[in-house]
Every structure is written in C-alpha cells, then in structure tokens.
Symmetry: C2
Amino acid sequence: MKCDFSTHHRMSVATDVVVLTTDNKPLNNKRKVAEKGLQILLVKRDEEPYNGCWALPAGFVNFDEPLLECAKRKLREKVGLDDIYLEQLYSYGDDVNRDIRGRVISIGYIALAPKEKILLNSERASKEAEWFWIESSTSEWEVDMLSFISVLDSSLKITSLAFDHRMIIADALNRIKNKIMYTDVGFHLVNELFTVKELQTVYELMLGRQVQAFRRVLNDKIVETEHWTDGKAHRPARLFKQR
Amino acid sequence: MKCDFSTHHRMSVATDVVVLTTDNKPLNNKRKVAEKGLQILLVKRDEEPYNGCWALPAGFVNFDEPLLECAKRKLREKVGLDDIYLEQLYSYGDDVNRDIRGRVISIGYIALAPKEKILLNSERASKEAEWFWIESSTSEWEVDMLSFISVLDSSLKITSLAFDHRMIIADALNRIKNKIMYTDVGFHLVNELFTVKELQTVYELMLGRQVQAFRRVLNDKIVETEHWTDGKAHRPARLFKQR
DNA sequence: TTAGTTATTAACATATTGCAATTAAGTATA
DNA sequence: TATACTTAATTGCAATATGTTAATAACTAA
C-alpha cells in the first residue's frame, strides 16, 4: 500500500518543557540548616481544556519551526526564560486521546538552570508562572509518589496536573537521575563557579540518596579556582569550575 | 497570544525504526574463527523522494494510531516482523526541510532481536528488505565513520541513506552503547537461553571494546540452567537465562 | 596419546566507593 | 581570650568492582 502524502494523517505537535532548578527550602523550626530542594516551574492554564489547572510550559509547534526552537520560544513567551540548557526528553503520543481537542503529539523537553540565573529574567516572567517544590516519598521518581507544593504558599499542594504532565515530569526526573553520574548535566544546575557542596547537593537531590566521597568521585570533572565563598559564615569554601 | 487549535500548525508525523541484530560474519580466509558482527535491516524505497535509496523501515502515523503501534505496524508491513522489542529513541524535527514533501516530524525507534527469532518470520519479509553489516572505524558510533555493507553482496557499500537516517542510526547505536551496561537491553539480542560468550559478544559489539571478566560483571543478571550447547565442537558451554 | 580449540574458574593487582575519623578555618558566646 | 560550634576539606581503611593473566576443564582432530 502506497502512502499518500495528503492531509489525512496530519496532526498537531506540541512541546512541553520540564524546567528544573534547586533552591533553599524555608528554614525548619527544628533545624537551622538551610536544606536544599528541587523545584519545577509550572504555569496556570487560562484556556480549555484544564482551564485554571497547573501545567508545564507548552505550546504548539509552528509549521516552519524547529522543535527545539518551539521549546525555547515557549519558555520565552510564557516564563521569560532565555539561554537556558534544553534537552529533548521523550515524545508522547501513544494515548491518542491525551488531548481532548484532537490528536496531539507532544515532544517533552528538560530545561535546567541554577536559580540565580533564572531570577535575572524573572521580571519578564508571566504572573501565572510559579515555582513548586518537588517531593517524592521514595528514592524513585514514581508518578504516584510525586507531589508538588507551592513555593509561595505551602498550603497549596497540587494533586492533579493538566494532561499527562505528571508522567512527563516523572520521566524527566528519572532521565536526569539515570544520567547524572555518567554525564555532565549536573553542572547546568550550578553557577559557573561553585563549591563542592553545592554540586554535591544537586547530585544528591536528583539521585535521592547520598553520594560518599563526592570530591573524589568528581575529581576529574572539576578544577580548582583561586576564588572562595565570601566568609560570612564559618570556614570559606573553595570555588571550582567544570573541567 | 492565544493559541488557536486550527489546522495552521498541523504536520505529518512518521516513525523510523532502527532494527538491529547480530550474526556470524563470513569466514575470513586467514582466521577460522566465526567472528560476529552487527547488522541493521534496511529497505529499498520505491517512491520519491530518495526513490531506490536504502532507508529505515518507516511510515506515517495514522490520525488515530498510537506512535508505538505505528512503528509495530511498519515492521509488520514492510519486513514481516512481529513481537520484537521496541523502544523509542528520539524525535527528529529540528530541520524543517528534512523531508522535501513538507513538514515531517519523525519519531525514531530501536528494535532489537536475536537473528534466529527474526529468521522465523523472514518468509513474510519484503523482497526489498535486506540486512547490512554495520562498521565503524572508531570505537564511537560517529555519523561520518559509519558504513553499511550488504550481507548478500559485499561489494555493495552504502554511502548515502535516505533522509537523515544515517544520523538516526548513529543515535540508535550510541543510545544502546550508553545504556547496555546499566540496563538489560542487551538480553533482547540473544535467545532465551544463551551462553556467556554469546551475551558477551553482544555487549562488546555495542560497546566497541572488550569487556573483561564478563561472567563476573554480569553475574547477578544471569542464572545458570542445566542445558548445554550440543557438543558438536570442542567443550560444551553452559546455557544461561536472564535472572 | 597428543596437540589444538573453546569454556570456565581462579588468582592477583588496581581502581572505585562506602564509611568514619581527622584536621582546618571560620563564627558565636561566655 | 578561651571554648564550643559550624562548615570545609583531607585522609585512612575496608569492601566492592574491575582489568589482567594464568590455570584448569572438556571436547575434537589427527
């Protein structure tokens, strides 16, 4: 059977971006230590379906637009982000009814950046965009175990996200978890200059476990600089950069 | 700017499948040992563009068809394969002109199977499908270094493949290479019962290097059976199965 | 019987990692 | 100023994993 290149098989293609970063959690009464946590950027939808629901920054790919360019554009338009690390995650299109409006194939992307870099552009961000803490009750990033808690209002806990975005987020977290020890993706979540502790925290948050002798393990991926954290507290730490 | 769900952004979506297996290479005059090699299944196109060129088994996704189902269907239709391991690879759509006919997003898939399993269905295979040896002059699967040599006619060496299929193949090989030591994908390339040597060969072909003390490394992934290779040559080898 | 081939295990060196202790350099406070 | 406290960074040791080589086992072929 010849395949005719007509319109009968045309469908909509969208990109969905999982924007991840880390930040200091609010100080716990019991412990004075500034614990770090994982954050994800979500936007509140203002149209059907899922109107009012929180969702990943997403949008349709224009007919003459590269996929990656669409992901970048949506980050620019919806949350004012630019020049951020992006990698393709997975394509979602096995459930033909994943979007009630019609057949939509969605290309998932992962975006990573240190919080400082993102804050620079935050004034341009949409008012409907907000950071949420990512929590998981297991060391695995399982769909059922994921929860999202508002950074601004800890009483706001999202249990349902638009479309299949919960699954996309779980896939993104597992992707990073699986490759962080074997690749250099972790460096996208710290500044150009970073302390060993900062980088270690990123790795441990993604892995959901501690990493022993981190300095030794990462030794050939990082290089000392002559800069130090300013000594406002305790012993100053040496700043490193990626080799 | 609201996104209108009309037809202006609709495009064609296709699946491209990289079918990989291993087989015995023809006996070399100098060495009697039956060396193994990697093979890929390609089909000869019978329509424009790239009419007459070799290409990956591929085709357009129907409007109401899951992506994975489309990949399965194309393997059935074009090369008579069924019940074969399939995993999604990557989606190709950054070059808006990758198909001269219009905007086409292609979802790449990887299919793996031992040659014996594939041969069972070979009678149903298209006459225009053929296995090719995959060679690389480096230990990396680089696009420039890949070459494809016909299994049936060693003088037939493909230097150009249809569309961006050469890149898709390189991506597929690197994907398997990167995950074979940390996952169980390698088992899809051997039979249910296999010798240590057979599994080791699969790993070494994908990695492009030797793996020392393979039995020890894979020890917790395999389990002994009471079956042995039939003693037609030399010492019989114990057959294992996946744990 | 002996040499040749493949399979399998073992022995040893080296590399990596988990774990715990130690030293270093700052702050806070009595 | 002395002491306790906090964080940073290094070191030592045990346990595990891997690279390398050798030894042993089971069969074929001459």
